[in-house]
Symmetry: C2
Subunit: 195 residues, 2 copies
């Protein structure tokens, strides 16, 4: 995962843009926003740095593009909170862990966690997303007292789980089966939301 | 918090070393390991970069010194796990949150979280501490099946709580009273450990 250049992928042509984007996700994910450089990303992608600037402009623009997660809270939140109330906690944990089982989602998610926590660049993005998009939407549908604090508590457990399992990769939780984690963490989420 | 230089603290003299260390904790905490520079840290501390090198050597050495947390798992873990078993979860949450209420501990803790998650420098340190020092010690005293996974789950909730409350500072959890968080999160830790 550390080195992707030199894998013999084709150079130039129409896929340069997507190679640059994949390299950016990797680089931001490994070293955080501050540590990643246009030069290093270009090298990973096997292109000239000028081409990175050509397609994406400055580092901040490239990051914004790389961080563009297709998570739509207005679609996902109602979907998860619908269905039997007693299983909402387990559904949330399962939804997140199954999403992260996908390589592309996981790489992008790790990148976002790293940059959100690691420096200045990602924090406003993540905090803005959590505080203005995701959590109020969850809270708005709960119909319980202290809904906003409950949503924060859910975020704390999910964020910590992703951090220990996927970013720090502490064992045995890094390789624990999804079903086991759903069974252990689901009741926590359920209690934060409704008890 | 962003700018500490120019606060009119005395320059030179015997406290240069501790000023540099405090500046390093702040700088690593704000920008992560990769983003912090000896030059920037020297500027915050109001000293010449050569003095930083003189006292601490390279950036990696300065980081190691700044990250030297006085947390002794061999002392703390038995202390917390002693006492009534039914209250262990609450005691763990209270211990951590009360420790973080201290400015110095919080700054250092935020620095470690940021560097652990944000880049390469802190990760081995934090992962090593969690995986070799803290978690096996907790697990070793539990006398329950799957003790190591349980310890990981506890770490995930505590890490996520610290991240959302102190690093990302999402409201309302960032300003929630310690007692309220002990009451809400304590039972989670209790369940992960013993249920």
């Amino acid at each position: 995962m550390a080195q992707t250049r030199g894998r013999g992928r084709p150079r130039g042509g129409t896929d340069s843009r997507s190679r640059i984007l994949a390299a950016a996700v990797e680089a931001f994910g490994e070293t955080g926003y501050e540590g990643a450089t246009i030069r290093g990303i270009a090298e990973r992608a096997g292109v000239d740095p000028a081409l990175v600037h050509h397609y994406f402009g400055a580092k901040a623009d490239l990051f914004a593009e790389a961080a563009d997660v297709p998570l739509r809270p207005d679609v996902v939140v109602p979907l998860i909170l619908a269905g039997p109330r007693a299983e909402v906690g387990e559904r949330i944990v399962r939804y997140v862990l199954e999403a992260f089982a996908d390589d592309g989602v996981r790489r992008r998610g790790v990148m976002l966690l790293r940059t959100a926590v690691g420096g200045r660049a990602g924090s406003p993005l993540i905090v803005g997303f959590l505080a203005r998009e995701l959590l109020p939407r969850v809270a708005g549908r709960l119909e319980v007292p202290d809904a906003r604090l409950r949503a924060d508590l859910v975020a704390s457990q999910i964020a910590g789980l992703l951090m220990i399992r996927y970013v720090l990769r502490v064992q045995p939780i890094a390789d624990a089966p999804i079903d086991e984690l759903v069974a252990r963490v689901g009741p926590t989420i359920q209690r934060y939301l409704f008890d």
